[in-house]
């Protein structure tokens, strides 16, 4: 009991905040990029479709360390683009929170994109046609007809994206590193304390992750159930 008290008393909560912040920002970015990419890919020709789909899905099937390698290759200060970013705009990706976001976004984006695409493809084409003949703008059609019809798929894609971004480890550790209070996410914290043999601390953080993930999914399910009233279940 006293051990737990000691653990909680001197606890640095920064991994939780860093993970949540990273997860939220990466999810917001992936959400819009994923919807946009999905919309573009659906209306593309068959060849462009196959190519773009492959490119967008790649980060999901590759080991995160491979993605991390490529990200380093691009953004390292010793590389032309990374150096250019730093010199011209003072933007530094490696070993910063920006690196956390970038790594999490790259890894989680395919989940958003693929779920959004699958959901869009399920939307009844006649709804879109009807909206066009009624004079609705393409933007209005997208937000008021396509998105609501694709709601469940888009929402589940968003949950998965957030969950994935929250737990990202491989690419993050390579690109952003594990700087406590800056880039130290929960996943990296767990790996670190395990290496020190501190199973109590690891267990605590594991419990935190479990609770967040569970609460999140239940919450989303509730929102979905409310928003899906017009869709008949089978």
């Amino acid at each position: 009991m006293s051990e737990w008290a000691k653990l909680l008393g001197g606890l640095d909560w920064s991994p939780l905040w860093i993970s949540l912040k990273t997860g939220i920002v990466a999810t917001v970015i992936s959400f819009f990029l994923g919807l946009y990419a999905a919309r573009k890919v659906i209306s593309a020709g068959p060849r462009a479709k196959a190519l773009a789909d492959g490119l967008f899905t790649l980060p999901m099937v590759l080991p995160p360390t491979v993605a991390g390698f490529f990200l380093l290759l691009i953004f390292s200060l010793r590389r032309p683009f990374g150096a250019y970013l730093y010199e011209s705009f003072h933007i530094k990706v490696v070993q910063t929170w920006l690196g956390c976001i970038l790594a999490a976004t790259v890894i989680a984006f395919p989940l958003m994109y693929r779920n959004a695409r699958a959901a869009f493809e399920q939307v009844d084409a006649n709804l879109v046609y009807a909206a066009r003949t009624l004079g609705m703008s393409e933007t209005a059609i997208f937000w008021r007809v396509v998105i609501p019809s694709a709601g469940p798929g888009v929402a589940s894609g968003t949950i998965l994206t957030f969950a994935r971004a929250l737990g990202e480890y491989g690419a993050t550790s390579m690109l952003a590193g594990n700087i406590p209070g800056k880039t130290g996410t929960i996943s990296q914290k767990i790996a670190m304390v395990i290496q020190d043999g501190d199973y109590a601390a690891a267990g605590f953080w594991v419990a935190v992750v479990l609770v967040i993930a569970f609460v999140l999914i239940v919450l989303m399910n509730l929102i979905l159930a409310k928003g899906m009233k017009h869709i008949r279940s089978w």
Partner: protein, 354 residues
Amino acid sequence: MGLEVAIKKKLGSFGLDVRFETEKGIFAILGASGCGKSMTLKCIAGIETPDEGRIVLNGRVLFDSDKKINLAPQKRRVGYMFQDYALFPNMTVEQNIMAGMGKRPDREKVRRYLERFRLTGLERQRPGQLSGGQKQRVAMARMIAAEPDVLLLDEPFSALDSYLKWELEQEMHDILAEIDKPVLFVSHNRDEVYRLCTTVGCLNGGKMEVIEEVKEFFRNPQTKAAALLSGCKNISAAKILDETHVEATDWGVVLTVPCVPEHTAFVGIRAHFFKPCPREEAERENVFAVSHPQVTEDPFEWNVSFLACEEGSRIQWKIPKTEGEEVSVPDFLRIDGRQVLLLSDGETAELVRV
């Protein structure tokens, strides 16, 4: 003014080649399924793009392949009612109607549409909670609220139970009469077309074969496809013998008619038009000897199919039921020569302009 359509579109082995004009009134496009009816409407609405041709609505060019004009569906002012109504499931009845009324719909107008289409009280309902007839009214209201210049109705009654249709047809008839805009009405149901429409275009295999006033179309169809669509049950290939005689080769019968047009390739006889004929008159013209009769029963009529010669194809005769009476099949049936339909094969048919 009105709608002028002349378009071609190739879809694999199927070719759509449609040409017609309509000024006002309800123009029916009648055809079997897969003949290109819906595709024609989709081309007019801008959902599909024809390979070549021209679509002009009230003097506005919607599509012109030569001048590379192809207006977006949003700019065409073409109302389209889908077979399944395509109501937005996430929106309420009211929101559905407002969807085509611009950014700030006039609430008073919305209220009037709700009232006129008998939707008051259903404003907050979603399409999933509505009956078939209510859905149809919402779809009509939504289309009309967008103030289109022409209305395209794609099989508007096919999703409804038949006992509902009668009332809804009447309602639609009144609304369309009131709106006074050109209407294209796609259907494969001849009864609907007969009751609602003023002009019929008969679409067969992607080609507009006949365009005629609706009563005339049913009274005297010009082509084989038109005769079938108008409900003629008996059609046989024909061989012209002379100016007043034609042989129905599928039935093995020679028919005497007032005048045989030279493009006659088929003859048709409506199943109701046969009359029993006494034996002593069997030697007269246009008499069929009935052999191998088969009788089937419908709720309100008897169907008798028979052969006029061995190895011929079957001919149908329909007689209304009279109470408590079994049908007795006579040995001979006669047809009035003036009631024989003389049909072309469609390739040589002249388009009758109305």
